[in-house]
Amino acid sequence: MPNLASPKLQDAAHIWRSSGVVAATALVCAVTGSGMFARSVFGLSVTSLPDLVALYMLAIVATALRYGRTASVLAAAFSVAAYDFVFVPPYWTLAVTDARHMVTFVTMFVVGLVINELAARLRQREQEARVALLQARTEEMRSTLLSTVSHDLRTPLAAITGAATTLRHDRAHLSETQRADLLEAVCEESERMERLISNLLEMTRLEAGGALDIHAEWVPVEELLSSALGRLDGRIGPRDVKVELQERLPLVYVDPVLMEQVFMNLLDNALKFSPAGTELRVAAQASEGTLVVQICDRGPGFGRVSPHVLFEKFVRGEHRGVSGAGLGLAICKALMEAHHGSIRAQAREGGGAVFEVSLPLASNPPHVSVGEAS
C-alpha cells in the first residue's frame, strides 16, 4: 500500500490537481468518447482513423494553447494511448498487430510536442510584449517627470543665476533699489526651488514601495492649521484669512508633520491660484465620526478641468504663469489615504474653489481636562 503522505505522491497529486491536466484528460476523453459514439452509431471503419487522429491533434493543440507544457505533453501521450487502446486493433489493448500504426503513434506524439513548443513560444512572446508595454509606459512617466523637474528647477535657477551674475558683474553700476530687487529675486526663487524639491522628495518617498512611515499621535487639528498658516505668514501678508473652527474639536490620530504638510500644500495652492487681494477661508467641523477641514479661496476655480483629475500627478490647473510640477495635490491625496481619510475638491458658490479634507474620528479620543484659571 503506497504511503499517501510521501512527498512524491504529494507532488503527483499536485500535478494531477492542476487544471491543465484535468482539462487535457477531459478533452482526450471527449474525443475518445465521440469516436466511440461515431463507431457504434455510424460504423466507423479503419479508413476513418485519419479523422480521429486529426481530432486528437485538435485536443492536443487546444491544450497546448490554453495550458502549460506539462498538460499538453500529457495530452499528447494520453491521446496516443487512447487512440491505440480504443480504435487500433486489437481493441482494448495497447498492443498493435500492424506495425504501420506505430508510425502514426510516433507522428502524433512528435507533432504534439512541436505544437506544444510553438505554443510555449507564443505565450512567451505575449508576455514579453506586455512587459515591454509596461516598461514603455513607466519610461514615459519618468521622462515626463524628468523634463518637468528640469524645467521647473531651471526656471528659478535661471532667475537666480541672472540676478547673482548681475550683482557680481555690475555691482558698481546698480542703484540701491536695483540691488535690493535682484537680491529679493534670488531669495524668492530659492524658496520656490526648495518647495519643488521638497514635493519631489515627498512624491518619491510615497511611490517607493508605497510604505509610508507614519508616526501618529493625538493632535488637535487647530494646532496643525495654525502652524501651517504661521509658516506661510510671509506669503499671506495682508490678505484676509478667516478661520472658523468649531469649538472643542476632538483630537485626531495623525502624523502631525505629514498632516501639516497636507494643509500647507492646500493653503499654498490657494495662495498661488487666487488673486492677491482675495480672502481665504479655513473651516473645521466634526460630525458623524468625521472631522472635515475646508480650505476655500476666491480664485478662478477649476475651469474645464474636472476636480478629481487635479489629484493626479503632474496635472496643473489651466492657468499660465503658475509654477509647480503639479505634485502638491497628488501628495495630499496619498497622505490622506495613508491616514484612512479622503480629500476632494469642488467649485465654490460665488466663485473659487473648496478643498475638503476628511479624517475619521476615533470613537473615544483622549480627553485632556484643561482646568480652571487661578
Binding site: S190, E217, E223, L229, P256, V257, V282, V370
Partner: protein, 234 residues
Amino acid sequence: MSSLQSSILVVEDEPQMRRFLRASLGSRGYRVLEAESVLIGLQMVTSHSPDLVLMDLGLPDGDGISLTKRIREWTQVPIIVISARGREADKVVALDAGADDYLTKPFGVDELLARIRVALRHASGQRSAYPEEQIHLGELSLDLARREVRARGENVRLTPIEYKLLVLLARHAGRVLTHRQILKEVWGPSYEAQPHYVRVHMAELRKKIEQNPARPRIVVTEPGVGYRLQTECP
C-alpha cells in the same frame, strides 16, 4: 552686546556652507573656527573652548548626536545642530541629547543669527536688564513674584499648568523646547509618552495670550520637534 570676542566653531564638511558661515558670521564680528569632521570638531572644542558650536548632523565621519553627548560630558557650551528637512527625528534626538537649538537646511542668515544670539544670551546668563522675577518679551510680560501675566497690557488668567508652560517657555525664550523636555519639566518624567497633553494645553494657552490664536506670533510650533517662544522677528 559685544559679539566681538565670541568664537563660534563650525563643524561642517560642505565647503560652500563654511564659506557662507565664515562670511556672514565673520562680518558680524564673531571669530569663526572651522572643523570638517566630527573628529576634528571634538579636538577643537577641547583645544579652543569656543563660545558656541554650530554642528551639521550630516557629517561623513560620524554622528553629530554622539558628538553632542561627548561634548556635554564636560561642557555646557551652546550647541546648535544643522539638519535637512524631513529629518525631524534626528533633531529631536540631538536636542534631547543636549543640543540647545537647531536650524533646518536651507536656512537664511537672519534665522542663523537669531538662533546664535539666543543661544549665547542664555549661555552667558544675560537676559534683559530686568531682574529674574520679571520677564518682558514683546507683547508679553510676566511677574514671577506675583504670578501675574499680561499680554498687550491686559491681565491674563491662566490655569496652573498654563502658567508653568509659559514660564518654562519664557525662561528659554527664543530657544526650541521638545515635547519631551516640556512634559518632563511641567508634568514630570512619567508623562514622557503623552505629547498630546502638551498640545492641548498649548492650544489653550495660545487662546489666552495670542492676539490671533489661529496665527500665533508668540508661541510658535516647530513641526515634528516642539515649541518656541518667539522673541524677535526672524
